[in-house]
Amino acid sequence: MAQKLMMIALSPTMTEGTIATWKKNEGEAFVAGDLLCEVETDKASMDYEAPTSAVLLKILVPAGGKASVGETIAVIGKAGEASVSLNEPVPQPSREAETPAVEKESPIVAASSETDGSPIAPPPHGAPLAPVSALPSSPLARKIARELGVDIRMVRGSGPEGRVVEKDVKAFSEKSSAGAFSSAVAAPGEASSPPGEGKVLARPPSKETPVSGKRAVIAKRLSDSFFSAPHYYLKKQILAENLAEARAAVNAKRESSISINSIIVKLAATALLRHPEMNVFWKGDRIEQREVIDIGLAVALPDGLITPIVRDCAAKGILQIDAEFSALIEKAKGKGLSPGEYEGAGFTVTNLGSFGIDEFTAIINPPGSAILAVGAIIKKPVIGPDDTILAARTMTLTLGCDHRTIDGAVGARFMADLASMLEDPFQALL
């Protein structure tokens, strides 16, 4: 029997994907595990592997086309089989939550290629954050949530012990799409002028750009973080003379220079090793403290921010950290990062020094609890040993912490240690 092939969530935050290229042609046979198409998701380009062995009967969403998770992108079946009965127009993104009868009979859903199971999006408004596996939910509810692009952790369960069941997901989905509609209706500039007000002066139209998948994810994650994690900031200006000199000395002997960020990441990892209470994750009813230190580095790309991660930084040297970040950034520019390469950082470093920014505050990158914002290395008058004023290179660090997990004194002790290492990198060896 011909079956629908649906767009699936290839990353936990993906709600929509763009078919980059089809790797199989209509009429071509494939076996389970074959690459069917490449899909551009919110953050990366992912491989869509065949969930079963069959023949690609009809492509419904051609290369370049978009489809929401759960929408049909192709029809598969046996060779020569008519795909006519299933060959309907591609449903629009705002389609009803109801799934077509055919889909119910034998849906094909491939497992998404998840690597890191840690949760990405914090929950809304104080609901406890729990990993997906710990949430009671029925398999059907999870499947429907996946198809509708609903984050099941947002759904309140009505079953025993809060189990999320089919009807909860459907109700949630209907409610959220209704919300989307009502805000769309209230678009500005459509209200008719009250009588007697005369003509409204024509103004040049403003440019509107649809929110890209990636931009939507950035918006959601950072809003969730900022509105649920109580942030506070610790600022410290350090003397950057030793750091700058050490770096210059090392780079002088190398063909390619080491990024200042890689040195900061390594020193931060060393400080985290000494203050493991900083490497923590808020889980609603408990706090997870990780031994492994995974540090993300915020990287600006033309289409938005991404934070590639180097895992286990404590066990790696600066050269290796630098090499890994360079490789990840190159890969990110090609839109090639897989979720495992950008999700689940315990600590994040962000540096706007190259733009000449003195200092700034950053929003914590979930699921971690702290972020270090690094300003430019700037020459400033500083008070010397004998109360003399001298010109020295300085750098201002601002540590953002989640007060749910990290109290001020804990953050301050970490910051003091980190500052002393940055001022005198030799401290890191002690």
Binding site: S138, L140, A141, K143, S158, V165, E166
Partner: protein
């Protein structure tokens, strides 16, 4: 179409098959002179004579083994066990000989034999005579195991069993023998290995076999009054099992309850619950529920005897749990 009792339907099947094939013969305790402990073989001794309707001593292991030998030698015996409780004595002949000869001889031998008799709880019979032993047989590769729940299926499945070249165990029921149902006048067979949708529905699937079918259909009627459409699937054949029919139904409803009279540990029902959980995992909106006999030897006290068996209330309770509805 005639309305027959379950015992009359079995009798008609035996009569027709004995008339059709002279190799078919019946043996067991009281099947001849007494016309059968439950009158299933009524009139057959008079019609076919003592050569083909043999009364046996009270020795289940002995006459079951005799039957297996006769089948290997080319006859098509139907061995009646007065009840499956007594067939426990014959387990070795069924499990180690009947079920295995074909495989162990590389197909040189076949054992076309039918073992049949009442199984499951009846009433006022206490622990040793009131138990569902379906799992004992269904556990064994090499056997086919049938559990007809209606006179029509009893007739059609017994005929198929007699014609089958493999050993077949049929689970009947003392209580069901007097139940009536329509059986077409024209001869027919019910194929082995096909479950039947006894009632169509869309809200949940209730899988059952043998005597509880009637209670499950009553439960479905009661649920219909509350607007719940239960689909009832009657297994009919426990081995081979019509898995696809079960999954097709559960795929439609997303919820499944299994009802049986046996003890719940390592039972046919618990096996089916596992199969459904595994093969329909993605579309289940609730755990698969099992309504079984209680995990105790059957009590003699009548109120406890009833409490130890599946009931309408227990079935409705399971429906409440899989539909997440307290109002049923």
């Amino acid at each position: 179409m005639a309305e027959l009792t379950y015992r009359e339907a079995l009798n008609r099947a035996l009569d027709e098959e004995m008339a059709r094939d002279p190799k078919v013969f019946l043996m067991g305790e009281e099947v001849g002179e007494y016309d059968g402990a439950y009158k299933v073989s009524k009139g057959l001794l008079a019609k076919y004579g003592p050569e083909r309707v043999r009364d046996t001593p009270i020795s289940e292991l002995g006459f079951t083994g005799l039957g297996v030998g006769a089948a290997i030698a080319g006859l098509r015996p139907v061995v009646e066990w007065m009840t499956h409780n007594f067939a426990l004595l014959a387990l070795d002949q069924v499990v180690n000989n009947a079920a295995k000869m074909r495989q162990m001889s590389g197909g040189q031998l076949s054992v076309p034999i039918v073992f049949r008799g009442p199984n499951g709880p009846a009433e006022y019979l206490a622990a040793q005579h009131s138990q569902d032993l379906a799992a004992y047989w269904a556990h064994v590769p090499g056997l086919k195991v049938l559990a007809p729940a209606t006179p029509s299926d009893a007739y059609g499945l017994l005929k198929s069993a007699i014609r089958d070249d493999n050993p077949v165990v049929i689970l009947e029921s003392e209580i069901m023998y007097s139940w009536k149902g329509e059986v077409p006048d024209k001869e027919f067979l019910v194929p082995i290995g096909e479950a039947q949708v006894a009632r169509e529905g869309t809200d949940l699937t209730i899988i059952t076999y043998s005597k509880p079918l009637k209670m499950v259909l009553e439960a479905a009627d009661r649920l219909a009054l509350k607007g719940v459409k239960a689909e009832v699937v009657d297994l009919r054949s426990l081995r081979p099992l019509d898995e696809e029919r079960l999954y097709a139904s559960v795929r439609k409803t997303g919820r499944c309850i299994v009802v049986e009279e046996a003890w719940p540990v390592a039972s046919v029902g618990s096996h089916i619950a596992w199969l459904v959980s595994k093969n329909c995992f993605d579309i289940l909106d609730a755990q698969v529920e099992l309504v079984s006999g209680e995990d105790v030897p059957m009590p003699y006290s009548h109120s406890l005897e009833l409490a130890a068996q599946p009931s309408l209330e227990k079935i409705i309770g399971a429906v409440r749990r899989v539909l997440y509805r307290e109002d049923l």
